[in-house]
Amino acid sequence: MFWRIVPLLLVLASPLRAEIAVKEVISPGGIKAWLVEEHSIPFTALEIRFRGGTALDAPEHRGAVNLMTALIEEGAAEMNAQKFAEARDALAAEFRFDASTDAVAVSARMLSENRDRAAELLRLALQQPRFDADAIERVRGQVLAGIRGAAKDPGAIASDLFNRLAFGDHPYGSSGDGTEQSVGALTRDDILATHRAVLARDRVHVAAVGDITAEELGTLLDHLLGGLPKIGAPLPGPAIVGLTAGVTVKEFPTPQAVVRFGTEGIKRDDPDFYAAFVLNEILGGERFGSRLMRELREKRGLTYGVRTLLADYDQADLVTGQFASDNTKVGEAIRLVQEEWRKLVEDGVTEQELAGAKTFLTGAYPLRFDGNGAIANILVGMQMTGLPIDYPATRNERIEAVTLADVKRVAERLIRPEKLRIVVVGQPEGVVSTP
């Protein structure tokens, strides 16, 4: 299918519809979770996050968290990978395990009719994964193929290069998949150690939405997570954002150049965060009417899509954006981005733009809470961000409270043309690297 614009995923998922009744549940064993009971469909969506993610990798073991996470479902206790998958499928339970920069995510959907048996399978996967030698080799082969593929993908090359410039030797500065060399060298002992270091109770957050009561959830959580180590590996320290002004071109044979740009961002708990959030929406947010979409796509047809976002990682913050443009046109597109960046600081935004962004953001907010899986995801994200359980009731007020003066102040602080780094992968005409 071809879309008018390919939907992009939001990095910053903000929460909730005020009417949703979120309860805090504390299990008998002391595990905390947020719950929305929704008994109209006979299943439960469960979202579990272990803070840390691929950023917990030691440099020489880069890719260990990613490979370990991919192996969790490849056999547990007495079941090899085949037996485990057969048992899961026979219950029609769905489990997903995913390693990202700051978290390992476990997502489960379990039918009410066999929830106990499905939860027992998930417990075995989390607590007694086998990490069989043949499974390690098989999945390692898949990861290595992905790493070789990324090395020839201009989008992945641009992201890796941008992250290296931004974060240097910090784990954020390289791909969490690791390199052919680092992944090739991982041993079963490395995987076992990584498992103990990452899936620990001192860093776990849980949300459940669906056909389950608070009492049932408490029992389930103790069973599911109670046997995990109490304490995991220390988180990496803060990452210093080392971006400087300029352009970095990486030659790659492709008809269309991929551009990634950005500068240091703003912390999620900064008093000016909401002003920055509104500012980003005006510059390059989700709407077709954002300044960058208007200038690059709607007026000039230079790109299929351009977006910016506030990327708030646990250990660093960025304002960053991305687009692709044919090699012949990308120079003009880059000049326009730089110009918009400058204009935002010099001229600020209008009252009308501010009002438009606020209406959109506050109106879009409740629409996100439309399904058990979607709500569970949002609730666990709120916990990871450190937001209070009643945040949904106050979030739109925080957006509404942003004034023109707030936006101006935060623009001067955040949108620093003298720090904007632009990475280009392709064969751009008339664009050269600067120091």
Binding site: W3, I41, P42, A90, D134, Q256, F288, G301, D326, L367
Partner: protein, 441 residues
């Protein structure tokens, strides 16, 4: 894992289900309306599906259906260019559109109390779009950039276009939805306006409204906004050139420096779901699941990844929701050191064994259970349900067909699967394409 994602995008084996209350009616001007109720959240989705897609384009004008989809967001007699999306976004909603071979669909997702405004907007652009040469020229540049980004920058997508073109000897399903670059570059306002006048009409559309809505209120709003629109008398019947008997397997290979691992794409012409007769299509859903649905327990995964490892991964897929013809297919990536020829021979041996022996009864029951459970999970996502009804009705199926589909799936027997397998897995219907690295070419 790019390729896996790519593969997933081709696994179009949707399993429509009966949601909560679903009702349907038709306006006097021919517009069909389906209402799906889900009152858990105060959200509504409006989707307008037009029964026109890339396979309905005039020869030489490939891409006009998708191009036109973009132009629908431009000026009308009542709205400026861009004002449609601005208005939706001012309500906090999101809106988008997509084009396939058999349909073009537009949707908005908004707070349920804004549905009336959405209908007003959608009705306005069904008949009153006002194009200018400038607007068309700029949007053509956007679409060429889209083609660069989604096809020309990705050798996998480029090669898919080539294999699909080889699959269809005569039917326009072989032409890419986005269009061939040289033909997109030649499209202009005249082609766009002719296309619009021919196909955009209430009697060539299906409206699906889903979410926190009640049928009576939807009917009243639809009557008010869409009711006054005049039907078009002479909408061309969808009589596309049909395939002759395919007598010869087609084999392709292409190498590209941007390819890191060789990859096999195999496809076969396959029957589509037919109104009132969906058994064969349902059997092909099982066939795809049995052979290559799960990356662990499917037959291909077991034989080629576990027992005697020859591939990094493998999959099978079936896409059966189409006006004229479905497709069935396989994909695999050989392990380093395994030649493409050996990997393909191993896959063909698995398929041959399956045709001789038939499905494992335990695996068969597991898939039946999973298909049944997918009905429960599907009810969590009202937009997916809206898609299932809209897509089905756009290709000529009925509401009853969509509601029957889960029952048809549950009733499939191993014999149904074997009969469908023997018919479809015939090399004369097949295209086998190897995307190779510079080193393996």
């Amino acid at each position: 894992m790019r390729k896996i994602l790519l593969a997933a995008a081709f696994c179009g084996a949707a399993v429509p289900v009966a949601a909560g209350p679903v009702s349907s009616f038709q306006l006097k001007n021919g517009l069909e309306v389906v209402v799906i109720e889900d009152h858990r959240a105060p959200v509504a989705v409006q989707m307008m599906w037009y029964r026109v897609g890339a396979a309905d384009e005039p020869p030489g004008h490939s891409g006009i259906a998708h191009f036109f989809e973009h132009l629908m967001f431009k000026a009308t007699d009542d709205l400026k260019a861009g004002e449609f999306s601005d208005t939706v976004e001012a309500q906090g909603g999101d809106d988008n559109a997509f084009t396939s071979w058999d349909y073009t669909a537009y949707y908005q997702r908004v707070a349920a109390d804004r549905l009336d405004l959405m209908m007003k907007l959608e009705a306005d652009r069904m008949r009153d779009l006002q194009l200018t040469d400038d607007v068309v020229a700029t949007e053509r540049d956007v679409i060429l950039e889209e083609r660069s980004q989604r096809v020309d920058s990705d050798p996998g997508s480029l090669f898919s276009e080539q294999t699909r073109a080889a699959q269809f000897l005569n039917h326009p399903y072989g032409v890419p939805i986005i269009g061939w670059r040289h033909e997109i570059a030649a499209l202009g306002r005249a082609e766009a306006e002719a296309f619009y006048r021919t196909y955009y009409a209430p009697n060539n559309a299906v409206l699906v409204v889903a979410g926190d809505v009640v049928p009576d209120a939807v009917r009243a709003m639809a009557e008010a906004h869409y009711g006054p629109l005049k039907p078009t008398a002479d909408i061309p019947p969808r009589l596309r050139p049909q395939e002759p008997p395919q007598l010869a397997e087609r084999r392709l290979s292409m190498s590209d420096p941007r390819v890191s691992e060789p990859f096999l794409m195999r496809s076969y012409l396959a029957p589509a779901r037919r109104s009132g007769d969906q058994v064969e299509a349902a059997a092909l859903v099982y066939l795809a699941e049995l052979l290559g649905g799960s990356g662990t327990t499917s037959l291909l995964a077991r034989k080629l990844q576990f027992e005697d490892p020859k591939v990094v991964h493998s999959y099978a897929w079936y896409d059966g929701t189409a006006v004229d013809s479905g497709l069935f297919g396989f994909g695999l990536m050989p392990l380093p050191g395994v030649t493409p020829a050996r990997a393909e021979a191993a896959m063909d041996a698995v398929i041959a064994d399956f045709l001789a022996i038939g499905p494992d009864p335990v695996a068969f029951e597991r898939i039946r259970t999973q298909l049944h459970a997918s009905e429960v999970y599907a009810q969590d996502d009202v937009q997916t349900l809206a898609n299932r009804y809209g897509e089905a009705l756009a290709v000529g199926l009925t509401v009853a067909d969509v509601q029957d589909w889960p029952r048809v799936l549950q009733a499939v027997t191993p014999e149904d699967v074997m009969q469908a397998a023997r018919k479809v897995l015939d090399q004369r219907n097949a295209v086998s394409g190897w995307l190779l690295t510079e080193e393996t070419k």
